[in-house]
Chain length 219, copies 2
DNA sequence: TAGATTGTTAATCGATTAACAATC
DNA sequence: TAGATTGTTAATCGATTAACAATC
């Protein structure tokens, strides 16, 4: 018996695979049957070489001259990303940003399911936001453990970010989308993705100044 | 007379410089006078070598044994980033995300000033959101030109993103923070920073699956 | 002075792009 | 078949890290 070592894909490639899948789904809606790497690249905003390089992580099935079947490539990407069922998720913070983020789970189904919103504001606790129950922040450990939550979205004030991250990790969370400006200290096996909007704003301000001959941005 | 060619700094470095400045400002509030690259690195979540490499873009004034003066390094970074006065900015879309983003301009002053919010929803047009007037989307060109707006924040539905980007660029905008999932086609001299929240959500979902021994995320 | 830190250059590392044999 | 495209390997590019002379 041979152990299947599922090689972990790096964050940039995962991001692009996610974009490819979105593009492929849009093509499906338009009844496009097949696509070449060149055209998928065009739609995703990357190079054709990059697409083929990325697809080496997927058990892809392109054929010379015919390109890829949209349907089966989409399936292959999904299989690769491993998000077959929805991943149970907790949202911390039901402020303006937190509530805006909840919308993303209605509009698009990003293979995540928000099981609980945690808040300190007692006006919200006990209510529902978009069908998701809001609990008090103090129930963090219980909720995470009960729903086997592995993903957390941090949309709380900076000053509580590290403390909540510690508690999330202790309760079993292993992947955090961090909208605070705090550089979280977590064990190496926990994935943290920082989305520092303040920093992004300062960056766009910078490139507005000079009549910058510029390169494309991040991610 | 010698022309001063202000070398344009790459996006990653600009992002870190912005983070350093934030950290330095926090140190100022704590009355910390001086700091070493090692400690600044620790607080910013990067390596000491990276800090010193980044500070080569700044006319920095560190001294061996004494490190950097917090106050003057902060000033030097600000000078380097060139954001002395607030940059006039337009926000497109006053939906949940747009309104959440407006909050960032109250809580923190990211060297940007939102001059106008543009919306299609007539219930909002004519009102103010956080002291910022809301105009109809059709006034885009006039508003951008009148206020000499160089920065735009796109928080609109995907299907109007490219059209609005075209109009923004035509009206003189040269830096766009794009919260849609559309890969905008813009002239090379326009800076676009994509903040694809959908993609980020799929990425954290991916790393929640395997008991990933992982690396730190993007940006 | 001795020791530690800066500024800067060199080495390494990783990611993107180019090239090309296999192939439909 | 001829031509174009895939899958994959090699080359390039850029960014991070390491090293180290200058220096306070």
């Amino acid at each position: 018996m041979i152990a299947i070592a599922k090689k972990l894909i790096n964050p940039r490639t995962v991001g692009r695979l996610s974009i490819y899948r979105r593009v492929l789904n849009q093509l499906t809606e338009k009844n496009t049957q097949r696509i070449f790497s060149r055209d998928l690249a065009e739609l995703a905003g990357v190079s054709a070489s990059q697409v083929r390089q990325d697809l080496m992580n997927v058990s892809s099935n392109g054929t010379p001259q015919n390109g890829y079947s949209v349907a089966s490539l989409s399936r292959a990407v999904t299989r690769c990303l491993g998000t077959t069922g929805p991943t149970p998720t907790v949202l911390l913070g039901a402020g303006h940003l937190g509530q805006a983020l909840l919308h993303y789970f209605l509009a698009t189904r990003p293979h995540l399911q928000v099981k609980a919103v945690l808040e300190v504001n007692n006006d919200l606790v006990g209510k529902h936001l978009h069908q998701v129950p809001v609990y008090h922040e103090s129930t963090l450990e219980g909720n995470v453990r009960a729903s086997h939550i592995k993903v957390a979205i941090l949309a709380v004030p900076d000053d509580v970010a590290q403390d909540q991250a510690n508690r999330l990790v202790a309760a079993g969370v292993c992947s955090i989308l961090n909208f605070t400006t705090v550089r979280l200290r977590v064990p190496a096996e926990v994935y943290v993705e920082n989305n520092d909007i303040q920093m992004s704003l300062e960056r766009v301000a910078y490139y507005a100044h000079e009549d910058s001959e510029l390169i494309e941005g991040k991610a």
